[in-house]
Symmetry: C2
Subunit: 313 residues, 2 copies
């Protein structure tokens, strides 16, 4: 099979042996696979793949067709359309995935979009709903709303009856974020007047944190999911105490299979019904062919995207 | 009645009108009342009393005898020994407290110790057990373990089957902390080799936080309860994400009656049985008379105490 591979810190396309599905695993012929921030860290050598995942094939999510079943795999049949999160190796013509990390692709989602669905919607749902416990009627602030996780969170929170304030550096995206359900779209640092916020989804990190804490409602929660804007933050502990606030950091990739499977079941139960009703979409910034993988990574590194960057196989 | 009062940023003893119990309230003749860090902030004008509490009488906890009942107060009878947390006004000969904020004094706890029990044991139980969710077999780090909340947390966690690492600046207290159940007692900054920790109880704050995050086990939780060592902290967001850690700030004083009542019920259910079995004690550093209130505050401001400082009425 052909695969996106990391060679000496660069992205190239290379031939690799076809993987074989093991116990409870499924062989998927990949249709599309999304790019994510963690892929960039992995290319730079800063975020090695977890044990059991290919060390040099990036890709944390994929959608495609079941073309092989390992021993004991019973959740799907040959030819089924599936999507899911993987620990790595998603950006290849073939990928092996444990069946409990996969979900069916709803009929309302085309297979191209499906490759950009799992990582961002699972991350957004897990961080904002399962962990931060966002409730209908609460107010969510999304920092860095134009990216994949941001656009997923804006739609999810709006669909479940929360009010959403979104920030993005690019004024040109304001109408698109409003179309996804944001009540207010503003620039980073100009959000304070629209609070206080019950939940903050922090996709930028760094110097944002101090302002996040100051804009928190009593009992508010801050989910740290992205740190592209800096990993060091200053925290005023008394401000956090005075609102009895909570800050948590979260990643999906490092979790064991059981926890990833639980997150996938939660998405099937609470998010896929919204997809089936047409309330959620996957905004796609651009889809590249496999031969354009290097260009896809170049494009992903630039700012000013709206939604997902995908590779089609 | 005579009361500890704040006058121009100083502690004096003054005469005040006797308070009258209102709907659901109880009039308590105070036997002892503990001093807490928040009292010092209030004396400095940095932490005003919440609405409904006397503005100039400090004191967040008390124990004593029921000597009057307001309309609809049915939980206690005249002459009952009670203890509880108040929003302020505890350091007076008489105090009015809503009956749902009070608990009975167990027969195994003398009334002097009882005045130093509610704030520290409720704070420790609420932060470490109810909010951080410490479980038997987990490992707890207590920073600033020799104070009131610290000694309460060491005993509680040890009694429930967690292992406890305690830090204190004073080597002389090591044997006392070990006697309360700490497995390891060490100096601040020298705890890392005894981790990783599932829960950290941070009673010092400031520069401790960075080391707390680095010593966290996957899924670990840090409770910020005291910030006498500084309110500004540096936080490495990527380190927090990599362990999927959680930091929360908490105070009891600002909570509404319903939440304080819930915390009191949790203490009655989960902590008082341990007092009745003799597994928990209130270490008392020193008890002052009302006429020595100014000296009590001076003493409380100094470091090097072990356990509670009390005023007896």
């Amino acid at each position: 099979m052909r695969a996106v591979t990391i060679k000496d810190g660069e992205i190239v396309v290379d031939d690799r042996p076809d993987p074989e599905p093991g116990l409870g695993e499924v062989l998927v012929q990949v249709a599309t696979a999304g790019l994510n921030g963690a892929d960039l860290l992995q290319v730079r050598g800063a975020y090695p793949a977890p044990p059991g995942s290919p060390a040099d094939i990036p890709g944390l999510e994929l959608a495609g067709t079941v073309v092989g079943l390992g021993e004991g795999a019973t959740r799907f049949g040959l030819g089924d359309k599936v999507m899911g999160i993987v620990g790595g190796g998603g950006q290849a013509e073939l990928a092996v995935v444990h069946e409990r990390q996969l979900s069916p692709v709803p009929s309302t989602l085309d297979i191209e979009s499906a490759g950009g669905f799992p990582e961002v919607f699972t991350t957004a749902h897990d961080a904002v709903v399962s962990q931060a416990g966002l409730r209908p009627g609460e107010r969510l602030l999304v920092h860095g709303a134009a990216g994949g996780v941001g656009t997923a969170a804006v739609q999810l929170a709006s669909a479940m009856g929360a009010s959403v304030v979104a920030t993005s550096r690019h004024e040109g995206f304001d109408w698109r974020l409003e179309a996804l359900g944001a009540e207010v779209v503003t620039r980073p640092g100009e959000h304070a007047g629209f609070g206080p916020f019950d939940v903050v989804l922090e996709l930028i990190g760094g110097t944002n944190l101090d302002g996040d804490v100051r804009a928190l409602a009593p009992g508010g929660r801050i989910a740290i999911v992205g740190v592209g804007g800096g990993i060091k933050a200053e925290l005023n502990l008394l401000a956090l105490m005075s609102v009895r606030g909570r800050i948590f950091g979260t990643t999906l990739r490092a979790r064991p299979l059981e926890e990833k499977a639980l997150a996938a079941r939660a998405v099937e139960r609470e998010v896929l019904p919204l997809v089936e009703r047409g309330q959620l979409a996957v905004p796609i910034d651009r889809t590249f062919g496999l031969d354009e993988a290097t260009a896809a990574y170049e494009h992903f590194r630039q700012g000013g995207k709206f939604g997902k960057v995908l590779i089609a196989f």
